[in-house]
C-alpha cells in the first residue's frame, strides 16, 4: 500500500480483506492443528509485534533504535508487580525465588491482576517512550542508535539490581489456576489468542497510521529531516509520538511474553538486548524496512528458521542463523519486500505510468 494510493481515496482494498480473512483463518486454526507447539506459535506473534513496532521507528521514521527492548522489559516487570504485589508480600516472594512456594491464585485473582497488568504495561511503555524520546530523539543517525543501545543496557542494569523484583535471580510469574494436561493446553491457548489479537490490532493500527498525514510526515523525516523542518513540520512531536506508539504495543507485548515464559530473568528474558533486541531489527530488515508487510514476512522467516535450527542443529544454531543473515544481506539488501518491489512493482501498489516510461 503506497501513499499515492491512499492519496486517491484508498481504503480497504479487496485484496487486503481477502488476505486478512485467509491469514486470520489460518492463525485461528493453527493452535488446534499443531497443539504440540502452541507456545512457539504464541512467541511467533510476539516476534511479529516486536518487528512491527521496531519498523515504525527504523523503517518508517528512519531512526534505528536498539533500545525498544526497554519498553518490552518495563511492561513485563510492571505487569508482574501488578499481578503479584496485591496478593502476597512481593519482597518475600521474590527473595524466596524458586525455592519459595508457588503463588496460588484463584481465577478471579489471576484475571483481576492480568487485566490491569496489561493496561499498566501499555501505559509504562507509552510514558517511557515519551520521556526518553524528548531526551534522546534529538540525536540523529548513528548517535541515536548508540544512545538507545546505552539506554537498554542502563535500564537492564537497574532491574538486575532491584531487589523488590528479584534482582539478578529473576522472578516467577503467577500461573493460571488449574492443573493437568487439559488445563495446561487451555492456558497456552488463552495466551496464544491474546498474542494473536495484539498482533492483529498492532498491524491494523499501524496500517491506518501510515495512511494518515502523520504517516507521510514521519516518512519525510526519514528521507530528509532538515528538509522536513524547513517545510514547517514539527519534527520533534512526530518523532516522540511514533516512539510512544512503539512503546505502547511493546509494553503489552512484554507483559504477555512474561506470562508465557513465566520465569523472568532481567537480562535474558525482559531486557534481552543481544537476543530479542537484535532479532527485532533483523526481522524488519529481512522482510524489508519501511513496508507494511515486511516485518510480517521477516518474522515468519526468522521464527521458523530459528525454531528449526534450534531443534535440528542444536549447538550450531547461531552459526546457521548468522549464515542466513549474511545470505539475506548479500542477495536481498532491501529485504524481501524490497526485492519484490524491484521485480514486480505493480504487485506492491507501485504505479508506473505508460507515459512516464516513455518520457523517461
Amino acid at each position: 500500500m503506497t501513499g499515492a494510493a491512499a492519496l486517491r481515496g484508498g481504503g480497504a482494498s479487496r485484496r487486503f480483506i481477502v488476505f486478512c480473512l485467509v491469514f486470520g483463518a489460518i492463525s485461528i486454526a493453527a493452535p488446534f492443528l499443531f497443539p504440540a507447539i502452541v507456545k512457539q506459535l504464541s512467541i511467533f506473534w510476539v516476534m511479529v509485534i516486536v518487528a512491527y513496532t521496531w519498523d515504525t521507528m527504523g523503517g518508517q521514521l528512519g531512526y534505528n533504535s536498539f533500545g525498544n527492548i526497554v519498553f518490552f522489559g518495563a511492561g513485563l516487570y510492571l505487569s508482574a508487580i501488578v499481578q503479584i504485589a496485591p496478593f502476597t508480600d512481593m519482597r518475600a516472594y521474590t527473595a524466596a525465588g524458586e525455592q519459595g512456594e508457588a503463588l496460588a491464585l484463584t481465577m478471579g485473582q489471576y484475571l483481576g491482576g492480568l487485566a490491569p497488568g496489561l493496561v499498566a504495561a501499555a501505559l509504562i511503555g507509552f510514558a517511557l517512550a515519551i520521556v526518553f524520546g524528548f531526551v534522546i530523539l534529538g540525536l540523529r543517525g548513528h548517535y541515536f542508535a548508540i544512545g538507545t543501545l546505552a539506554l537498554g543496557i542502563f535500564i537492564a542494569q537497574i532491574f538486575a539490581n532491584w531487589e523488590y523484583v528479584g534482582a539478578g535471580s529473576g522472578l516467577t510469574m503467577p500461573d493460571l489456576p488449574g492443573r493437568g494436561r487439559a488445563s495446561d493446553q487451555t492456558k497456552s491457548l488463552v495466551f496464544y489468542f491474546l498474542c494473536f489479537a495484539l498482533a492483529a490490532v498492532t498491524i491494523l493500527f499501524l496500517r491506518w497510521l501510515y495512511s494518515t498525514r502523520f504517516g507521510l510526515a514521519i516518512n519525510a523525516i526519514r528521507d530528509d529531516e532538515d528538509k522536513a523542518e524547513a517545510m514547517g513540520i514539527a519534527t520533534t512531536v512526530y518523532k516522540v509520538a511514533a516512539w510512544s506508539v512503539s512503546g505502547f504495543f511493546l509494553g503489552i507485548c512484554g507483559a504477555l511474553y512474561g506470562n508465557i515464559v513465566r520465569f523472568v530473568d532481567p537480562e535474558e528474558t525482559a531486557f534481552d538486548g543481544p537476543g530479542l533486541g537484535v532479532w527485532m531489527v533483523l526481522m524488519a530488515v529481512l522482510g524489508g524496512k519501511g513496508s507494511l508487510w515486511g516485518p510480517l514476512i521477516g518474522a515468519v522467516l526468522f521464527h521458523a528458521t530459528k525454531e528449526l535450527l534450534w531443534t535440528y542443529l542444536l549447538g550450531f544454531q547461531n552459526i546457521a542463523l548468522g549464515l542466513l543473515v549474511i545470505i539475506i544481506v548479500v542477495f536481498f539488501p532491501e529485504g524481501i519486500m524490497g526485492w519484490i518491489r524491484s521485480r514486480w512493482p505493480q504487485l506492491v501498489g507501485e504505479r508506473v505510468d505508460a507515459t512516464a516510461e516513455v518520457a523517461r
Partner: protein, 247 residues
C-alpha cells in the same frame, strides 16, 4: 513600500570566519529581489540565518511585521517564510505525489489533524502543481529516481504547495539545462504574479537574475557591497571588481 522581510544589521561568524557583517536587507511584499556575490561571500549563510537555521550573533530579523530573530526553522516556515536548498532536497523514497502531499501547509497542524487522511483536494492540487512544473507524467515515480534538474523542479513545486508568502530560492537554476532555464524563469515570474509570492533569489547566472529581479543586493566578504536595479548593479565598478577579484 512596507517591507515584508527586513533584516537589520545582522552579523554571523563561525569561529574566526565572519560570514555576515552588519548586513541589512529589505524585501517588499510582491517584489522579486536578487542576491548575488562571489563564492563564499555569505549568501547562503544569510539565508540560513533568516530562516532560523542558526542563531544570529547580533542584529534582528522581522517578517510580516513580527520579530522572528529567535524562532526556529519549522515555526518560521509555518509563518509562510520558506526556503529551498542549494543542494536540492526532496524526499527520495517517496513518490512525487507523496512529496507534494506532505508539503501541504503545516500552519495550525496538530496531532489530531495529522491523524486524518489527505482530502482529495490535496491530490488535485498536487497534480496541478506538478503539471505547472512539467512533472505530471512522473507523478508516481519516486523522488530519488528523478534527474537532478527534475528534482529541482519538484522542490520548487513542493515549495508552492506549502503556500508561502515569501520564498527564498538558493540557486534555482544551478544544474538545469539551458533550454529548461527559460521555462523556469517564466514559472518563477508566474508564481510571483499569479500567486503573489514574494521572491528572494540567490543566483550565479547573471542572465537569469538580470531577467528576473527588479532589485539586486550584492554581497562580498560577508558585507553588503551594493544595492540597486539590475542595470545599475551590472555596471557598478565595485561589483565588477568583486567578481573579477580586483582589490
Amino acid at each position: 513600500m512596507t517591507a515584508l522581510l527586513s533584516v537589520d544589521r545582522v552579523s554571523k561568524s563561525f569561529g574566526g570566519v565572519t560570514a555576515n557583517r552588519d548586513v541589512s536587507v529589505n524585501v517588499g511584499e510582491g517584489e522579486i529581489v536578487g542576491l548575488i556575490g562571489p563564492n563564499g561571500s555569505g549568501k547562503t549563510t544569510l539565508f540560513n540565518t533568516i530562516v532560523g537555521f542558526h542563531p544570529v550573533d547580533s542584529g534582528s530579523i522581522s517578517f510580516a511585521g513580527r520579530e522572528i530573530t529567535k524562532l526556529r526553522v519549522p515555526r518560521i516556515a509555518r509563518r509562510g517564510l520558506l526556503r529551498t536548498f542549494q543542494q536540492t532536497r526532496i524526499y527520495p523514497k517517496m513518490t512525487c505525489m507523496e512529496n507534494m502531499a506532505v508539503s501541504t501547509p503545516h500552519r495550525g497542524a496538530r496531532l489530531t489533524t495529522m491523524l486524518r487522511r489527505h482530502p482529495p483536494e490535496v491530490a488535485d492540487k498536487s497534480e496541478a502543481l506538478l503539471e505547472f512544473v512539467g512533472l505530471y507524467s512522473k507523478r508516481f515515480l519516486r523522488g530519488g529516481d528523478l534527474s537532478f534538474g527534475q528534482q529541482k523542479l519538484l522542490e520548487f513545486a513542493m515549495a508552492l504547495m506549502n503556500e508561502p508568502r515569501m520564498l527564498l530560492l538558493d540557486e534555482p537554476t544551478a544544474g538545469i539545462n539551458p533550454t529548461l532555464i527559460n521555462g523556469l524563469i517564466d514559472r518563477l515570474k508566474r508564481a510571483n504574479a499569479d500567486l503573489g509570492i514574494t521572491l528572494f533569489v540567490i543566483e550565479h547566472n547573471m542572465r537569469v537574475i538580470m531577467n528576473l529581479a527588479t532589485r539586486i543586493y550584492c554581497l562580498a566578504h560577508g558585507q553588503l557591497l551594493a544595492e540597486g536595479p539590475p542595470e545599475e548593479i551590472q555596471n557598478d565598478q565595485r561589483v565588477i571588481d568583486a567578481y573579477l577579484g580586483a582589490e
